[in-house]
């Protein structure tokens, strides 16, 4: 079980698998948070909680897309990472500009500061990895 030298540029292998692991962790975190918020106190901050649910859904679909890694999977993952990046930046700006809009924390509030800014870094890493493993990439 030592080192296996297969520097294969496949979306769901190697660093891609670590990316999938982190996406799964965020999918669990966001899903349970959104589920709980919507079930127990939806009327307190519907916008924030619906956003949590959307974020959760995106993390799940992105994880599945990255894991399947076929042509369709990569396309799904690309869409998810893009929406995620736009979402985390937009919500980050909005949550700073208008606190009343998001009275309760969401995964994306303050650019994901409640989660160590990983929600901001994750889509960038995802997009970079999708680009690195694009099918027509010239192999070194």
């Amino acid at each position: 079980m030592a080192e296996t030298q297969v520097p294969e540029r496949t979306t769901n292998r190697g660093p891609g698998r670590l990316l999938i692991a982190v996406y799964i962790l965020f999918a669990i975190a966001a899903t349970s948070r959104a589920g709980l918020q919507i079930a127990t106190k939806f009327d307190q901050a519907p916008v924030a909680y619906l956003l949590s649910a959307v974020a959760a859904l995106i993390y799940i679909v992105a994880a599945v897309g990255l894991a399947r890694a076929g042509h369709a999977g990569r396309r799904v993952a690309l869409a998810c990472c893009s929406v995620e990046l736009v979402g985390v930046v937009a919500v980050g700006i909005l949550s700073l500009a208008d606190r009343a809009l998001f009275p309760d924390e969401t995964v994306w509030s303050g650019f994901g500061s409640g989660y160590g800014y990983i929600p901001l870094v994750l889509p960038i890493l995802g997009l970079y990895w999708l680009w690195r493993t694009r099918p027509d990439a010239s192999r070194p």
């Binding site: 079980m1 030592a2 080192e3 297969v6 962790l25 669990i28």
Partner: protein, 131 residues
Amino acid sequence: MTSAAAAGSPVDGILATAAIVLSLVVAAWALVAALRHRAPDRLQFVGLAVLEVALLALAVLALVALGEGVRPGEPGAFFGYLVTLVCLPPLAWVLARMEPTRWGSAIVCAVCLVTPVVVVRLQQTWEVIGG
């Protein structure tokens, strides 16, 4: 750190502290392995297994306390974190088995860094009114 156990929280005590420390040790070991281009070794899997046993014991302690009528401050969040917590080491195990490269070690490291955070959140959701 363990003095809070006297306050009545079943998830704050030697066992929780041990789980946090063990998780961080496994994370550090996995990080070293990842940096040395090593696939997850037996020690990482043993570490994950022991961690899972500790977390399951923690869950049993919490359930026993519930059986005695003690209630967490935020029951919904508490159970969410508890269920998530016991799923983390198996998740790391499965993904690390699928990825017998340095990135498998990186996955073990990442999950073992998240686990202590979830343990602490678990303690916080218990203590809101109980503490």
